[in-house]
């Protein structure tokens, strides 16, 4: 009896240890370190394998570490409760620059940056402006921002033109500004198409203020149900915004038995996930790899500059991916129009509204 109790307690302790703790920092890049600069990166709950946003930032930071001849220390967060502990553990590791990936890590980053003014912080996807004064709350945070609404505008225009059902859909992971900026841009693109062509293409899942969200950034059953309900409305293009939730959407598309095209976000899905190749119409690119790499290298060369970086169509920080397999399914004239539209947005002739472009 006593023995059994002890065994149970042991099993319980093991379970808690396995599930509760975040991963310990691990050194990934092999080889001899030639520099004593120590770049570090922490993911949000999506993990570095999300085939999207965390993965891109991770790739950028890895490339920077290689170029600097040093080793990248990375740590993944399994849940929101890990953020603080993970950032603290990186500070304790003696990191010189810490890349925090995601809007969700903003508060933790501000707190840690204020306490450790000697460390350079690179915050992906948020302005680190909790007091809304227009500046980052600590001088050692470089926010990397992306006006993805511009690229999403193009995707919306393209999707509206491509849709035969006259209905396109979108849904997000959570109601975060970095998520809704895609949906906002997409909506404006659809509206712009309707205005210029006199058509009446509908957007399901986002009305400019409210929309469909899965409640998380995981390819879980909730994400599939959300996708399914949007497909039930008869859409033939769908834009899932939020890391891996598109994988659930693909299952929903397979079950519906209909020809539904997928629009990717962050990375070019055609390249990052070969399983999507038959479905992906285009992707809304967010150049996190390039900008993260540049910011880390700048920090490594002691040229760290805390002015926010804003990716736009103009500087190539955001873009629309090529059509790949859909090249012969999309009217070349429509693709031409998208290219012209891109020029107009860069020139400022067509205005795309977003919280970054006010």
């Amino acid at each position: 009896m006593k023995k059994a109790v002890r065994l149970t307690a042991l099993a319980g302790a093991a379970a808690l240890a396995l599930s509760a703790c975040g991963a310990a920092p691990e050194e990934t890049t092999g080889g001899e370190a030639t520099s004593d600069f120590k770049p570090c990166i922490v993911s949000d709950a999506g993990g570095f394998d999300d085939k999207s946003f965390n993965q891109l930032s991770f790739e950028g930071a890895t490339a920077a570490a290689e170029e600097l001849g040093t080793e990248l220390v990375d740590v993944q967060s399994a849940s929101e409760s890990d953020y603080k502990g993970n950032v603290e553990s990186l500070v304790a590791e003696g990191c010189d620059a810490i890349v925090t990936v995601g809007f969700a890590l903003s508060a933790t980053t501000i707190e840690s940056a204020t306490e450790n003014p000697d460390i350079d912080y690179i915050l992906v996807d948020d302005a680190a402006d909790a007091d809304f004064d227009g500046n980052a709350d600590a001088e050692n945070i470089k926010p990397l921002l992306y006006d993805t609404a511009q690229a999403a505008f193009l995707a919306g225009y393209l999707s509206a033109g491509y849709s035969e059902a006259g209905k396109v859909g979108t849904f997000g992971g959570m109601d975060f500004p970095t998520v809704t900026i895609f949906m906002d841009g997409f909506k404006q693109g659809v509206d712009y198409y309707n205005e210029t062509k006199g058509t009446d293409v509908e957007l399901v899942g986002w009305d400019g203020k409210k929309g469909s969200f899965t409640g998380g950034f995981a390819a879980d059953p909730a994400a599939k149900t959300t996708a399914q309900n949007i497909l039930d409305q008869g859409v033939d293009v769908i834009l899932p915004v939020g890391g891996p939730i598109y994988q659930s959407a693909m299952d929903a598309i397979a079950d519906s038995g209909e020809d539904v095209a997928l629009v990717g976000v962050d990375a070019d899905f055609y390249e990052s996930d070969p399983a999507t190749q038959d479905l992906v119409l285009t992707s809304i690119l967010k150049g996190m790899d390039v900008s993260t790499k540049e910011a880390v290298i700048a920090s490594g060369n002691e040229e760290f500059d805390a002015t926010p970086y804003v990716g736009t169509l103009e500087n190539g920080g955001v873009d629309l991916a090529p059509l790949h397999n859909f090249e012969d399914k999309v009217d070349p004239a429509l693709w031409e129009e998208v290219q012209t539209l891109k020029e107009s947005i860069i020139a400022g002739d067509v205005e795309v509204k977003s919280y970054l472009a006010e």
């Binding site: 009896m1 023995k3 059994a4 109790v5 065994l7 149970t8 099993a11 319980g12 093991a14 379970a15 808690l16 240890a17 396995l18 599930s19 509760a20 991963a23 993990g47 394998d49 993944q76 399994a78 109601d175 509908e202 399901v204 899942g205 009305d207 409210k210 929309g211 469909s212 969200f213 409640g215 995981a218 390819a219 879980d220 059953p221 909730a222 599939k224 149900t225 959300t226 399914q228 309900n229 949007i230 039930d232 409305q233 008869g234 994988q247 659930s248 693909m250 299952d251 397979a254 079950d255 038995g257 209909e258 399983a275």
Partner: protein
């Protein structure tokens, strides 16, 4: 609900025929009245004008029913009137000391639901897909129903099965790997059954052989399996995602003729194998528990193990047997996640479904059929919020995400009446 109308047999025969006294409570009537009042308040406080579009068939269905467009306000009030009428009728019946028939409660629920949907969908350009709502409810209820069946079998034998969550998650994980490697959904299903039983074996080892507190073992198992699967997921499944975590799924099998019935056809008869299996499993478990020697012995062990032992039933073996079957059945529910719904495993993807299944066990008063219906109710509540968020309901999405749990809580706390668990549930049997 039968608990409201307890029939007391007096054991002193006053006449030739035994006298029965029916005790009627006002609970049913007051609950209905409260719901009606809340409903009316909702309509008055947040009025909605416009039409609601009910979509009853999908592209490709045999019978095409045009979208039914109804003015939301009048429909909602008509439904409210029906609810009020039912409440009044129930009150009259109660005053006359007559039982409330089940069909009245069902009518009330239907009216309340139709009215609420009409109100929620008012003015929205989107179609409210009734097939999607009901079909999704059936799908969502699969893990709840299998989990609840597993819970019922275990508890009727006297072993509290808190570990349903662990059985679901462990089964989902195993099914994902096996189905991915073998490219066979059936193999995944078999592996899920095995994994569920394996979790049960651990539960049995501690709870039956070592007499450890069953609730504690169950909770620890739940946490252990979350940790173990998350660990293996990040170490094994993520690096080898293409070979180990992209499963082959069951596809839907339409049953000829039946699947062409409008609305109910696609909801009930155009589903994957695992769902048909569920339709069979519920009555099968009921039959096995109540009409077979196996079930009689199992229940005897759960009610009074000492008496069962005295007449020569091997209590330990019977309990092990029950717990393993329970785990296997719950494992079928776990297979739903990775061989029916999604083509990959995700960390902690069951998200507490096992606990809801546990609530369904209690709500269903340890009866397999009632527990299954409770699971269906919870499945419906889970899906309702998804459908309404697409329609653009005025209810905030965060509130809707809470709905399944509120329904669970209300169901278990308020509506269930008096429920009595098997007498020896949770009691280890120590011979001598």
């Amino acid at each position: 609900m039968s608990a409201d109308h307890k029939t007391t047999q007096l054991d002193v025969p006053l006449s030739e025929t035994a006298r029965t006294v029916t005790v009627v409570t006002w609970k049913a009537a007051s609950v209905l009245l409260a719901v009606t009042v809340l409903y009316a308040l909702l309509l008055v406080a947040v009025p909605h004008s416009g039409d609601t579009r009910f979509l009853l068939s999908h592209r490709g269905d045999f019978f095409q029913i045009p979208v039914i467009v109804v003015p939301a306000g009048p429909l909602a009030w008509v439904c409210g009137a029906v609810m009020l009428a039912v409440t009044a009728f129930v009150a009259v019946l109660t005053a006359r000391r007559t039982r409330t028939p089940l069909w009245l409660v069902v009518l009330f629920a239907l009216a309340a639901l139709t009215g609420f949907l009409a109100w929620a969908g008012a003015g929205s350009p989107r179609d409210l897909s009734v097939v999607g709502l009901l079909g999704g409810a059936v799908l969502w209820s699969v893990p709840f129903v299998y989990g609840a069946l597993g819970g019922v079998i275990g508890e009727r034998a006297g072993v509290v099965n808190i570990a349903i969550e662990a059985q679901l998650l462990g089964a989902a994980f195993t099914a994902a790997i096996v189905s991915s490697i073998t490219n066979s959904a059936v193999a995944g299903l078999a592996a899920a059954v095995f994994a569920g039983a394996l979790v049960s074996l651990v539960l049995g080892l501690f709870a039956i052989t070592y007499h450890v507190n069953q609730v504690i073992v169950g909770v620890v198992l739940n946490v252990l399996v979350v940790g173990l699967t998350s660990f293996l997921y990040s170490q094994v499944l993520v690096p080898g995602a293409e070979n180990l975590n992209s499963t082959t799924r069951f596809s839907s099998i339409p049953i000829p003729v039946l699947s062409d019935i409008p609305v109910l056809g696609p909801v009930l008869f155009n589903q994957p194998l695992l769902i048909y299996l569920m339709f069979i499993a519920v009555p099968a478990v009921w039959y096995a528990l109540n009409r077979t020697r196996w079930g009689l012995r199992l229940r005897a062990v759960g009610e009074h193990p000492k008496a069962a032992d005295t007449v020569g039933i091997n209590v330990v073996r019977t309990r092990y047997n029950a717990v393993l079957v329970a785990g296997a059945v719950a494992g079928l529910g776990g297979a739903f996640y990775t061989t029916v719904y999604l083509s990959q495993f995700g960390e902690n993807m069951t998200g507490g479904a096992g606990y809801i299944a546990l609530a369904a066990v209690i709500f269903g008063k340890w009866d397999p059929v009632r527990a299954a219906f409770a699971g269906l109710l919870f499945g419906f509540a889970s899906n309702l919020q998804n459908v309404l968020s697409v329609v653009g309901s005025p209810v905030p999405s965060q509130f809707m995400l809470m709905v399944p749990y509120v329904v669970t809580l209300l169901a278990v706390a308020g509506l269930v009446g008096r429920s009595r668990p098997p007498a020896a549930s949770g009691e280890p049997y120590i011979k001598g």
